[in-house]
Symmetry: C2
Subunit: 142 residues, 2 copies
């Protein structure tokens, strides 16, 4: 995998250092159609790294609004890159997710907007997550 200039820019514009693993991680996210677990990332990395390093990078990315988190239905945390620039800490998922029960992948459906519902008075709404579960295209064919 070749790390792009874009990965560099993301790091630079967030005041983060340009290290090999962080460049690689960002590239992995940019190349992925779906949200990744820590295990996914560990597998995708060329050279082996301490899981702690991965965790800390993910946290840093998340705090800087580069990634957002969503737990999959099993409660495992997954991460995906924020295509539209997310305000730090107040990330609002604007699009729906689809999680395949076969391959366990989480797809970001960038073009599927989350519909609103009527919320009782007294609640302060900060963000919404809309997640569909089922079988994805690819797994459907097998």
């Amino acid at each position: 995998m070749e790390t792009t200039v874009k990965a560099e820019n993301i790091l630079k514009s967030n005041g983060l250092r340009k290290t090999q693993i962080r460049l690689e991680m960002l590239q992995i996210f940019m190349d992925s159609k779906h949200a990744l677990s820590v295990n996914d990332i560990e597998k995708d990395l060329k050279s082996s790294h301490d899981r702690v390093t991965i965790y800390r990078a993910l946290n840093s990315f998340e705090e800087n609004g580069i990634l957002h988190q969503t737990p999959d239905p099993n409660g495992n945390m997954r991460y995906a890159i924020c295509s539209d620039s997310c305000p730090e800490h107040v990330h609002q998922d604007k699009h729906a997710h689809f999680i395949c029960e076969e391959c366990n992948q989480t797809y970001c459906l960038e073009d599927v907007k989350i519909p609103d519902v009527q919320l009782e008075n007294g609640y302060q709404l900060n963000s919404i997550s809309y997640t569909m579960n089922g079988i994805c295209k690819e797994c459907q064919l097998n």
Copy 2:
């Protein structure tokens, strides 16, 4: 806490045995407005029990369609009772959830139906989860 006849019936109608802890657990769920984590349940139980027992009871309840699961934003699994009878294993959350960022409680909004979206062809949709995050009524007041 007093276990009701209803808890008994739930167990009986699912071919499960009437044990003290399972009765208590069901009662806790029926008395709760929000989804509970394993820790919540452990705290709410009168007498102390092995966590394994709690896990196994939860799994059994979930397999029988008595409870449904949703992970909270931290990826911790939470459980809530199915008010409408859920077909086993194929539970479809019909209602939205609200998770308070302050008290971390997951509220089941029984009367808020999940709106549909247009899903690209080729996907098989099994269930949808709709989760709002923000501050709940109670926390709003403090």
